[in-house]
Chain length 664, copies 2
């Protein structure tokens, strides 16, 4: 028997080689094969089942998470998986857990900030998970402003120890993942105080729980901070609260790569360049950008498949109704998101390269590109995560009523994704940092300093301030050079306008504060330019496979022209394009939508998501939506009995008029 | 002892009379006093406690909802509350339940579509809740397209009965609130078939469950459809699935006000004007608009208070850090939402008047204003709910990490609010209907037909197509006439452009489909104009109270100018304003933010929300955020024990190396 495929006709319409596109999406054939293999492995393992996740109570969910984590490690060992394979497996398990923080933050913090001795002492235990750690930076009162943390680590020369203490309520550690119930250890960030002087925030390795019975050590108050957004979602994580009551740790548990405290309590800075620490931040944010494309691709895949299955209105002579994906309104909401998924994917790929490049330079003591790389990752982190968060919710709305059901997968995807806009740098704070670097770059132009990297275009600022877009017909908008120049001109003009306004202030900081929301917009324009230009660069490479490049060109144009439409005010009010040219861009965009339409389902198939990973009845590969929705309903715990608990106390008395009633 | 108030200083800064503003917000002194009294009543009643709601399992939550509903009815009777008081009480209970559908849809459907006889038979039982009903329209396969419903009601002249049947999987009723576990009856929409002919969709009263033991009647399959977005939130409702297997009901259970089926099976249409049925739709959508302002006001209240409490960065010489509400980026994200809350409030007030007006006209057989009123409510429903949904999530982000905690109240508010964008008319579908009426209005201009109501401005289309905005200095943007003309010109030009493009198509429907996303944008422009103009009209009335009018003027200007900034592309590309004028608008907006800033906390106090209703640790009236966050954490079920369930199986073996481990 042929397997059921309600989307077969859609698939047959595609005018490109989906298998080749899968490889482009994955980055390489090897990466594709690896993720394909591992995703199937996870999907077929009953322990990793997640379809009932939103129905579990918090305790059940948490236990389920512990179980999955242990099982993931077990499978990794049994199958002798490589590091890449096992992290891929863990991604496909798709359930936030303490392991993310242990491997992703605790260990890297020691690797990055520990001395050789410290690494030799702690890392082997951590690698074997004989200790489990988390990253305890944020406090109740301080998140974004790390320098404002209040926890203290006071050196006691008498005992050669640090005394870790929470002097105020707001100094309570708050948020660290894995802290609440699992971690035995933490890297705790605290103000180093020695000889009565405050040397600012440093990292310390602190044991929190007994390795025998897991109970909190004396002086330690630790617990979970409670429910977070949504059901399922990030509630699998034990984000924690932690207070110290004069907890003593040996001096050598301060992470001492960058600065030390001597036996006598003297504070000494090593010659290790502080900038190297930024490498980790760049690395984490680069991963967040890559992951944004994955989260977005899941949402878009669900909405696209369902939009091809869903029919509403437009039946002619009793024939089938119109697939909602054929409505231009649906297309103009959905296809820019599809294009964004690809755009963010390539931006992420490029950032990964950038990270490798800057790491090499740092190792060679070349710090020259660091500020720009820093701005670039902070900015891309901000705009890709904001766009992805909005896009997931838009995809949900595109699914009409059924998108509101947990089994559509979209509510949980949204709930688990959105903290990306806040952690690892609040998105607004990030954009303000980008704006600072842009303003600095612009102000240095007069002195003849040539900007590099992604700010290179600012070196052509004179041209960009007065160039005119040459578009005369709709198809002129398909030229990459035209698009690029429009985006460069917009970004340059917005930055220069801000810089001019700033120069009118006697106090630069005041000026910066006053026009900060214009600065944020300039930063957004700059970051969007980066994404557009990296997409265009990608298309200058050779890309094999029938029709693959054409599809990507269409998507690149959809991405750029839909952004142009969305931010039309920027482009027109700075004179980068005329109203007539904007109308032509819109006309071209409509034509592009028609070209994307027959390929839409194949373009989301190219993400190669398993049904398990998607976790969505609406996004099923076979499009068998209604049957499965119907079956899913009966799993509701309320359907355990015909007559609900509470009927006798609270409903029957109405019906039998044992309650007196009144209109509510 | 003085009660604690961390926001006292903020409150002392306000330059207007908050008590008077409360009355403006509530609509009248009487309305204010009523809602103040009832909200305190609910807040002080332990049964209505909701702070633990997101931690309940689905079954517990559902039972809690039944309990609260019964208790609300009981209190209503005991206190002998008026209809207005009891519906206010129910609003403050703030937990979606079957009662909403019983009173809000089931009863009105019978009142509106039943004959006098039917009303006499059914309504007394329904009013007393001897029967409980729901509104069963949507099916798995059809929501927006009601005419496509598949459930059949076939007349059997032999027995004088209708046979209600679900012929396909997709004909299963799906979504009706209160259907899953509670309703004994439903108004079921089904295709009327008699004498082999299909007369389209009609309403039927169908009993679903035994009034003795609540078990589903023979031929009825009914249940809950499962988890929906979020925890707590709309999961208190038993949205249901329902299938009929040839269920027989007497002929007189078809709602026969508009059309009848005779004993012989003849279909007869009464002379009752069908248009009257639209009245209900207008009424429901008008309520949704009013409720949007309430939901928005809650989110804005939380974000504003917390932004005044939260301090981050900017400490000088060890002094306190900057309140985040002082950052211009925070203001430019938050204050437009604060202004929108007031704008939507007044739009809702006006819609309520419009509804009364159209009801009077309908009763006098004057249907002339109906299409316009219909467009207007559909459009405002769409733009206020979309804006509110986005705004709630923006408010959550404005609270940084802590906004992600359930106890911030924002996750649940978002989850429970968003279906407003979908039910009672999908927002995109609504805007397309508005666009249709706009296009009709424009096309009739040539024939000299004078448009009325909210489309009156289109009668001045010639002027609006070529007028120039006269703004020369930033403060010129404060003139209501200037703002109004800019919004009118923008809306008119967008509509006319669409109409011109349409006239280029030989097939109008094809044209409409092709440019539908431009049409949606024109509809948005039209609806935003309505809101701006109703706000301005409100300010032409006398408004007592020191400084109250000045504050509202500021908010009106913030609303209009922030919209102008957001949709700058529309205004500039249609030549309604110049880039220079847009820069002046921005300058003025910044000045306005400075004027709103000292009044912000008082402006949200004016909503008069109790802490119970807000349900937010971050939004507490007294600003005692950190203490309460800390206390809240310990209520997490994971904190019941120090060592979590699952430790022995899944964590300890790592620590003791009974598991072999590997990097994830
Ligand atoms: C799910 C989740 C997991 C987390 N995991 C960890 C973890 O494992 N370890 C850990 O240490 N922490 C963790 N955190 C904490 C996280 O890093 C912080 O929440 C984040 O840094 C944001 O800081 P904040 O909460 O202080 O936001 P705030 O800075 O208080 O933000 C509030 C508002 O103020 C604005 N704002 C702040 N400063 C400025 C400024 N200078 N200019 C303009 N606007 C400003 C922001 O834009 C925002 O709108 C986690 C948080 C979450 C939500
Ligand atoms: C919480 C909740 C409670 C509900 N309660 C009830 C209830 O009590 N009783 C009841 O009967 N129903 C109820 N409903 C159902 C609700 O009325 C429908 O979900 C709603 O009408 C939307 O219809 P749909 O789901 O078919 O969306 P669809 O129409 O399938 O929408 C899917 C997508 O198609 C697009 N689309 C559809 N038609 C067009 C078109 N012509 N042109 C362009 N785009 C189009 C939409 O914009 C959307 O993006 C409820 C739903 C929810 C979520």
């Amino acid at each position: 028997m042929e397997p059921l495929d309600y989307l077969a006709e859609e698939r047959s319409k595609a005018s490109f080689d989906v298998e080749e596109m899968k490889i482009v999406w994955a980055g390489s054939r090897q990466a594709y094969e690896l993720s394909d293999r591992i995703s199937r492995l996870v999907a077929s393992d009953p322990v990793f089942r997640k379809d009932n996740r939103t129905m579990l109570s918090r305790k059940e969910l948490f236990k389920d998470t512990l179980r999955k984590t242990a099982h993931a490690v077990k499978r990794t060992v049994e199958l002798n998986l490589s590091e890449e394979e096992s992290s891929t497996l863990w991604n496909y398990v798709d359930q936030p857990a303490y392991a993310n923080l242990h491997w992703g933050m605790f260990i890297p913090a020691i690797e990055g900030q520990g001395t050789e001795e410290q690494k030799q002492k702690w890392l082997p235990m951590a690698y074997k998970m004989q200790i489990i750690g988390c990253y305890a930076q944020t406090e109740l009162g301080h998140g974004s402003n790390v320098q404002g943390l209040e926890t203290t680590a006071t050196f006691d020369p008498q005992t050669d120890e640090f005394v870790i203490h929470s002097p105020t309520l707001t100094s309570s550690k708050w948020w660290p993942g894995g802290l609440g119930k699992v971690s035995t250890h933490a890297v705790v960030y605290a103000r180093l105080i020695t000889n009565g002087q405050d040397y600012g925030v440093q990292g310390f390795i602190v044991q929190l729980r007994s390795l025998d019975d897991h109970s909190p050590l004396p002086g330690i108050t630790v617990g979970d901070i409670g429910m977070k957004f949504g059901s399922g979602a990030y509630n699998s994580m034990d984000n924690g609260v932690l207070r110290f009551d004069h907890v003593r740790i040996p001096r050598d548990q301060m992470l001492m790569r960058v600065s030390q405290v001597t036996r006598e309590g003297k504070y000494v800075r090593s010659d290790f360049p502080r900038q190297l620490l930024y490498g980790t931040m760049v690395s984490v944010r680069q991963i967040i950008v890559s992951e944004s494309s994955i989260a977005l691709s899941r949402a878009v895949c669900i909405a696209t498949r369902y939009s091809a299955v869903r029919r509403q209105f437009g039946s002619q002579n009793g024939g089938p109704e119109t697939q909602v994906i054929n409505y231009k309104t649906q297309q103009s909401r959905l296809f820019p998101l599809l294009a964004s998924a690809y755009a963010f994917r390539f931006a992420g790929e490029w950032l990964q390269w950038l990270y490798t490049d800057v790491t090499k330079r740092l190792q060679a003591n070349d710090f020259s590109t660091l500020p720009e790389v820093h701005a670039c990752t902070a900015g891309l982190k901000s705009i890709t995560t904001s766009a992805t968060a909005d896009a997931i919710e838009e995809c949900r709305k595109l699914c009409g009523g059924h998108g509101y059901l947990s089994c559509s997968g979209l509510p949980e995807l949204f709930a688990v994704y959105i903290p990306n806009c806040t952690y690892e740098g609040d998105n607004t704070v990030m954009l303000l940092q980008v704006a600072r670097i842009l303003m600095k770059t612009v102000s240095q132009l007069v002195s003849g300093k040539k900007p590099g990297g992604t700010t290179t275009y600012l070196g052509r600022v004179e041209h960009l301030m007065q160039c005119h877009c040459e578009v005369q017909r709709a198809e002129d908008w398909l030229k990459p050079s035209v698009i690029l120049e429009a985006f460069e001109a917009r970004a340059a003009r917005m930055s220069v306008t801000c810089a001019k306004t700033l120069s009118g202030f006697s106090n630069l900081e005041e000026g910066f504060a006053e026009i900060s929301s214009d600065l944020v917009e300039a930063a957004v324009a700059h970051c969007q330019l980066i994404i557009v230009s990296k997409f265009i660069e990608k298309l200058q490479q050779e890309i094999p496979g029938k029709g693959v490049k054409t599809q990507l060109e269409n998507l690149c144009n959809v991405y750029a022209l839909s952004l142009l439409h969305k931010h039309l005010g920027d482009f027109v009010s700075t004179g980068c394009i005329t109203p007539e040219q904007s109308a032509l861009a819109n006309e071209q965009l409509r034509l592009l939508y028609s070209q994307v339409r027959p390929n839409a389902v194949a373009l989301v198939d190219a993400f190669n998501h398993t049904d398990h990973y998607l976790g969505s009845v609406l996004g099923r590969y076979d499009g068998n939506v209604y049957q499965k929705l119907y079956e899913e309903a009966w799993k509701s715990p309320l359907n355990d009995t015909d007559v609900p608990d509470g009927y006798h106390e609270y409903i029957r008395p109405f019906l039998k008029q044992h309650f007196r009633t009144a209109r509510l």
